[in-house]
Symmetry: D2
């Protein structure tokens, strides 16, 4: 079986990574790529690294161009996909890498994005632990992949949000850490900010320096993280101090997240929560005690690597998670989720080996 | 007046920065430089950037070579200076950039370093707020500079430790934040790890990637931070979750520190604590609301720049501090402290302008 | 058909890249990995990015361990493989990524390496143009791939050498440029220098700076380049001024090579030489006029991308070639050559899409 | 004596470096700073590293604002200063860091820039060797500094141009190298391209990669180099193949230049040409044989460091020159030239020590 695929926003960073991964996927056939200012130009001008796609030309991003494909991946700035997606009447599966369909609560959308709210789609982080309630009220733990099977509309995650959610959900689901008073600080590469020309993203501004941004609780991924942690069964409303720092690497997120350990929990119980949650996972791996990941270990791969330490003096667990913001953080999550939705083996077209050094 | 100066460990990174700053200091005359494996070689081979010092030759690091100078700066690996310093009978001022004389509690030394304990010297962070007790027990707030006046033995700070201590001491002294449950995550450049050849510090291992280390409460600067925060008048024993992350910049520390705001404190009161503490300072500056520092802004300068946000949803203050680990973090702190000790104007030979971009 | 494979020197950078590519090769089964100081340890400790190979343990690099595999790849420091290779009596195909078997002239070995000379093996740059002589003395142009078919001993190229050889061989073979007075300057990443801990390769020494080395005609890849250009049919002995410059990227080579255009040659004739030589190639591509490659476009890919300009005022062609030193420059070339030798489709297991940005 | 100074274009990279150097100059008083889109805003928003200038506000760049100062430094895009400079009737000294007044030949301006030609001002590279003719036609060698004494209008050099000119002029003046068939390849940081937001200068485009540009003889600094080499007494018209490569460092130029050695010249004679030319210089230094500079050695300093090798097999001298494009390459050259013009000691306010690592 081969599915016809369109990628909207193919000239940007997320679009490029989608295409790189799609090009090595045996079941997907890239039929259409669209852009905005680059429409009408060869794709290879925007994505000179994608030599196997040199034959493609960027078209305009319109419903007419996109409709009719089996699958459409959207890699547009937030606010841009929402207007299109309602018009795709004959698309079997739409996957949005933007923010438009991630938040279940319109109040969160208003507070952090603004503009028209669009309904939430199925969240595209298959390994995320989610809690459901049995008829008798008892919690039943599943992974988000259960909800992705058969989905037709998928919201790929925010790269920072999924890194932090994957870092903390196991401890929350297992009841070994508090969802309140979490602190996350992320070292992130600038490709996550997109390809638009901005002075503060110039090479000369970012090389040789660490630059914080969105300090003090204003980053748009915060409600998405809280939503995921609530979904993992947090007792009480999660709260998080979240600070991203741009560092001189083109790709990658290294998230250091700490949460208070629930009193009376042993270090072994803490570690077991994460090891159990991800024991069967291919793409989310917990490293042995004393080992911590580097972002380089995940470059180009669909992996989220997690190292864990219990700091007894501080009463906190420290979870360090690394992933490639464009791969597992965005495009890889989108394709992995699409595989699940379509019933294709989940790992198809995705690698767990990074390009390092 | 001109003071004769020796620098021990002049072939390393901290030694090089000491020399760069000393070379532009009008009151200090660099007379002697010493090294270990490079003894007997021209300094310029180890420090090719210091063209004005091309006439100097590295000597052996021995008490005989060092004694007799007005001032000796030590930039040796920890454990190395302790054995020398007792033998310097005719040195007016010794400043140790290593760890040997920083900790007041031998138990901290044992727990984090080990080996022979050496008594603590006067701590070389002039702007650090310290609390004393009046006869009636009331606290009296001063800065560490008061203790440095006339000092003859000074312990320059750990670069990470002083960044975090300067970040949080004002809030603790003012009683607006809790000293308990602090979280600090630092983006740091590898020059802080020194010039010894180690595989994990190779360029190929560090470029394009963020690498955590000493995760989970094991970093040696932790007791130094706690000591400084106790000194600032912490109510109760400070606790801190401290995680450094190596990022691809040769120099610089960007420390993101968060602490819980004492209930009932307004955002304005929080900000005022920092602005008041550093209002008269040249080298520690609090940026206006909404502004946060980049490490590039401090490159080569003796500044610690601090940005501050109150995250009401998280109940925490977020303090982002930037400094140059070799300058204000080490060599600049050493020279600034020496200026104070000797009664020279504090800013002599030190710049507040960074080299950027 | 599945071939059993051993990789000697699997803990280093070239070894890691071999394994990354081998792991995605459908015909090769990685059975044995060997190391030196890391023997006995899990491979994943040395190559934490290779999650799919977490089950492998490094063994000692001995003839006994290596013999008996269908294929052995050597990724050892120069001088180390020569002693082993003679003892591999039952290995169908040996591919050496070191220098030991590259040079056909013992005098070149003596002048640039020294120590025992080992006979040259079939050179592993399939796209390289080579000139042969017909019975009547007329030149016959082929590609090196013709010589690789059926080979049992292959010398993978020096990464810098193959970049320059691929850059210039077409013009020499076509007689449109002079082989005399070539100038090549290369921006190179430090992974090409290997994983041994050396002070001059520390991150702090290489970030934010460009560092030349082996200036003035001393680099060991020079005789290999001259040998390749002679093989391409150079009229007269080639001469080259060759200067590598370490720049802050972990991987990559950007070689800028210039050669004098033979008088009377038109710009179109110059360009045609390259376009004709590589018209049928998958992995060596000539970009359209006015376009030049970035190393990022080749990251992780088996491509050498070439941009070409005729500078009429200078009377020189400027050829800018980009490749990934570990991929197409070493491990990719080795596997591509092995594919050819074994009669497997040449592109098996190799990608032409880079990981960018 | 204190001179009043205005800096036009103070919000950009060259403007920032001018201000950093001016701030430490004892004879110059920064009175006025101007910008374009940032006019009306505090300087510190554009130049957050210049803490000592936090009191300054950017004004509009108009003749009225600029006229009346003793000295005006222009750091504007090319084409922008020419229109102003004629209107500055009461400015004692104007120094243009742009290209508008560098070229003596209008045909060069037309070919490489276009638009209105403005007359050339005195060229601001004091150490450049220039040849004059005595009454009897014999050459007389001087340095450009002779021409700068008393100058009232100075054209600071192009950063790449001065690096190459300083690299080669000694050999040309001494007659030991040919001015024909020079090849220069430069590793350059992106700050030289200015602060305007362009997609191709984004951090994500430049980190971890080497990107060539202006390949094939189109770079605008080429006529400036040829002009300087003619001025150095080149026998015949100079020709140069010139290729710049953007590499991941915010500042710095490492120029590798090669030229053919005049037959019959010994290696010692070659080296002597450079050593003699710069023997008395503070800011241009020739390193001992076998040593080559890194750009890091010049960061923030007003130095151009030169390493030299004779490659006898290639028949070429290889000259590797490092400088900080914003310091010695632009702002430092401007201030050094201004010092000379005004009769202030040449090194006033300028350092020869770099900030490394």
């Amino acid at each position: 079986m081969s599915y016809s695929v369109a990628v909207a926003g193919a000239s940007g960073y997320a679009g490029g990574e989608l295409l790189r991964l799609l090009a090595q996927h045996p079941e997907f056939e890239i039929r259409t790529v669209t852009g905005h200012s680059s429409a009408g130009r060869p794709l290879i001008e925007s994505q000179p690294q994608l030599r196997s796609l040199a034959h493609l030309t960027l078209q305009e991003t319109t419903p007419e161009v996109l409709d009719g494909h089996d699958i459409v991946f959207f890699a547009l700035p937030h606010g841009a996909s929402g207007e299109f997606t309602a018009q795709l009447t004959s698309v079997r599966l739409a996957v949005d890498c933007g923010a438009d369909h991630r938040l279940t609560d319109p109040a969160d959308w208003d507070a952090f994005y603004g503009g028209e709210y669009h309904e939430a789609w199925t969240y595209g982080v298959p390994e995320l632990i989610v809690a459901e309630r049995a008829a008798d009220g008892a919690p039943i733990w599943t992974h988000q992949r259960e909800h992705l099977a058969g989905a037709t509309r998928i919201a790929a995650p925010g790269c920072n949000a999924s890194t932090v959610a994957l870092s903390l959900a196991p401890g929350i689901a297992a009841g070994v850490i508090e969802a309140h008073d979490i602190v996350s600080v992320l070292a992130v590469g600038p490709s996550g900010a997109g390809k638009a020309a901005k002075t503060n993203l110039l090479g000369a501004e970012l090389m040789g320096t660490a630059n914080p941004y969105a300090v003090g609780g204003t980053h748009r991924h915060i409600p998405e993280i809280r939503q995921a942690l609530r979904g993992a069964g947090a007792a009480g409303e999660p709260s998080i101090s979240f600070t991203p720092v741009l560092v001189p690497m083109s790709r990658g997120i290294l998230a250091t997240s700490t949460a208070r350990i629930v009193p009376g929990t042993s270090a072994a119980q803490v570690r077991a929560a994460w090891e159990d949650a991800y024991a069967a996972e291919t793409f989310v791996q917990v490293l042995p005690e004393g080992q911590f990941p580097r972002t380089a270990d995940t470059l180009g791969a669909n992996t989220c690597l997690i190292g864990l330490a219990v700091d007894e003096a501080a009463g906190r667990v420290v979870v360090v998670a690394a992933l490639d913001n464009l791969a597992k953080g965005t495009a890889g999550a989108a394709i992995q989720s699409a595989n699940i939705a379509l019933g294709i083996p989940e790992a198809t077209g995705l690698s767990i080996n990074g390009v390092a050094p």
